[in-house]
């Protein structure tokens, strides 16, 4: 067993840190405060290759691997969780299913610009009445000659409005239940496709979360991803991969909160000494760090499984379950150790605590992760 990172990954970590601290961190507070999608950062992310890390060069990617991608989301989320999820949703939920299930022509047309960062991607599965029960899809796609007619509404869609390419799930045959769901590649400027209400959220406020409305959208037949009826499988497998991204985001948030806290407790004095000198502080820090390291092992192991074509559904679910709970716990403790200041916007830990909560919810709630894990144990 070898826990050493390769030379490439060590150099990547250094580059990610450098980039995140200089380019992303200075904007994190404003991104949150103004609920502003970081458009300028996106340009820089594109320039340095963040939008196509795990895809082969022939498809416009960086020729990297899943671990390199996970570490990027981790490093970005350490300073700004909104930026982290933009990269995660784009890569795992849009570019990845096209890479894994797309035809050569679809990859040529959509994956290349996505991986190069020229186009931004998003994914639409969730509906008002189809959340955890994804099988209750009401969006429909009806085959009419050489196109499908898409109708329905998706909600809570990350990168909505800014994305150019969407992977959308819709019912092609209601009578077949989950086997009647198909996946489609939908371009943003398709007639009849509009962006609905923008959600006002507790955290990750810089990430755009909106409704997608499809009214008689004509989707060319060649934009069917995989075959008819394979949508549910594509969605579930895509979410398995997405969970590695969200687990990395959660890990990054926790690491960011710990780093802020370590700096703070060394400076903050009470009863004539820095609060770092108190054993309560020391024990809290020890717990926070230990849990973060445990989460990191799960996240990196899930990335290793996916990279090496080993089964990774359970591993990704465990990584996401644990890392998101650690993120919530660590950020809550970080606020507590900052005391009253931690509750104010003068310090970033309150933002991190708000950002952490979503990691327990999206791309499968913690409860869904437990269902996935136990299903593997009991099969």
């Amino acid at each position: 067993m070898n826990f050493n990172l390769s030379k490439e990954h060590i150099m990547l970590q250094q580059m990610y840190k450098d980039f995140a601290e200089k380019e992303v961190k200075p904007l994190a507070e404003e991104t949150d405060e103004k609920e502003q999608f970081p458009v300028e950062t996106l340009e820089k992310l594109k320039r340095y290759g963040f939008m196509g890390i795990p895809f082969p060069k022939k498809y416009g990617g960086e020729g990297g691997d899943i671990l390199a991608y996970a570490m990027a989301v981790e490093a970005l989320s350490k300073v700004c969780a909104s930026t982290g999820v933009i990269v995660s949703a784009h890569t795992s939920l849009c570019a990845a299913p096209i890479y894994e299930f797309g035809t050569e022509q679809q990859k040529e047309k959509y994956l290349i610009p996505l991986a190069k960062g020229e186009k931004l991607g998003a994914f639409g599965l969730t509906e008002a009445n189809a959340g955890t029960d994804a099988s209750a899809q009401q969006t429909t796609a009806e085959l009419q000659g050489d196109y499908y007619l898409l109708n329905g509404t998706k909600i809570f869609i990350t990168n909505a409005g800014y994305a150019d390419i969407y992977v959308i799930m819709a019912m092609t045959d209601k009578s077949k239940g989950t086997r009647g769901i198909s996946a489609f590649i939908v371009e943003a400027d398709t007639e009849g496709f509009t962006i609905g209400k923008k959600e006002l959220k507790l955290g990750i406020k810089g990430s755009a979360t909106c409704e997608l409305i499809f009214e008689n959208c004509k989707i060319p037949k060649e934009n069917l991803l995989g075959s008819e009826g394979k949508g549910f499988k594509i969605a579930m497998q895509t979410l398995d991969g997405g969970r590695i991204g969200i687990a990395s985001q959660a890990l990054g948030i926790a690491e960011g909160a710990l780093e802020e806290t370590i700096n703070y407790v060394k400076e903050r004095k009470q009863f004539g000494k820095p609060i770092a000198a108190f054993q309560n502080t020391q024990f809290q820090l020890a717990d926070m760090y230990t849990k973060i390291e445990a989460a990191k092992m799960l996240v990196y192991k899930a990335a290793f499984h996916k990279e090496n074509k080993l089964p990774y559904s359970k591993e990704a679910a465990m990584a996401k379950l644990y890392a998101s709970e650690v993120a919530m716990e660590v950020t809550t403790k970080a606020v507590q150790l900052h005391g009253g200041y931690g509750y104010t916007r003068e310090y970033p830990v309150e933002r991190m605590m708000r950002d952490a909560k979503i990691t327990e919810i999206y791309e499968g709630t913690s409860e869904v992760q437990k269902m996935v894990i136990s299903a593997h144990l009991l099969k």
Binding site: S6, K7, E8, M11, L12, M15, D18, F19, R47, Y48, G49, F50, I53, K57, G61, E62, G63, G64, A68, A72
Partner: protein, 260 residues
């Protein structure tokens, strides 16, 4: 266009301590970086590559660990890395270093050689100019801006109190200031390339043509007689007074010490 950029791997701080016995730097535990002036020179070369498609070779003399600095340059976009490393090169002063680098450059084709003005661990600013002398080519130092022209380069040569605009024909050597630009980050795919697709060539003494009397410690006319860490200054005095009075006191003190 063929460009050679000379880079040096240096400790990432100006606060490294000297070993009082040997007079050399204590490098243990200090992370290494590409010398800032050199990194701007590399960025200038990469910008030329973006503009006109130059081929960029990075060259460094140093211990085997300097491989990391060359890989970083490759990850930023350089095409080729050459590490001059040999026990015989160790302990070189600026003369021996410039002789060795110039000998290596004689094996290569070039239109432009770029070196950083000076290294943060030595501050001599001698190696670049000496290389130009060994190669008998024109040199322009302290370059803060560079424009490609039909018959050569138009350079802004900066000083504390002004600048010259200098035209120079290639092949030539320039030394660059870190203020010249903001160096780019490594590109993610570039990092994979730097380890998987590109190579850092290792050149030893046998790979270059040079008199052994001009290399390493033996070939270095500079001898360090004594090195010492400056003692700490005495604690300053704090005056807790209104800003106006504070300004007056500062001026008074500066006059007293004949600084103004």
């Amino acid at each position: 266009m063929k460009i050679i950029v000379c880079i040096k791997q240096v400790p990432d701080t100006t606060e490294v301590k000297l070993d009082p016995k040997t007079g050399t730097l204590i490098r243990d535990g200090v992370p290494s970086i590409i010398n800032p002036d050199d990194k701007s020179g590399l960025e200038a070369a990469l910008q030329l590559k973006d503009e006109v498609g130059a081929h960029v070779t990075v060259l460094s003399m140093g211990p085997p660990q300097a491989d990391l600095a060359l890989r970083e340059a490759l990850a930023m976009g350089a095409d080729r890395g050459i590490l001059l490393t040999d026990r015989a090169f160790a302990g070189a002063d600026t003369w021996a270093t410039s002789c060795t680098l110039a000998a290596a450059i004689k094996n290569l084709e070039y239109d432009l050689i770029i070196a950083g003005r000076q290294a943060i661990d030595g501050d001599t600013a001698q190696v670049g100019p000496q290389i130009a002398e060994h190669l008998n080519i024109p040199q322009v130092t302290y370059v803060e801006d560079l424009k490609l022209q039909e018959d050569g380069l138009l350079l802004k040569r900066s000083f504390e109190d002004g600048y010259y605009m200098v035209k120079v024909k290639t092949p030539c050597l320039i030394t660059t200031l870190k203020e010249m630009n903001e160096a780019r980050y490594m590109r993610i795919g570039g990092i994979f390339d730097a380890y998987r697709e590109k190579e850092v060539d290792i050149w030893n003494l046998k790979d270059i043509q040079i008199e052994t009397s001009n290399i390493g410690l033996q070939g270095s006319p500079t001898k360090v007689k004594k090195a010492f860490t400056k003692g700490a200054k005495t604690a300053g005095k704090v005056y807790d007074v209104a800003p106006k009075e504070a300004a007056e006191r500062i001026i008074e003190k500066l006059k007293e010490k004949f600084i103004i």
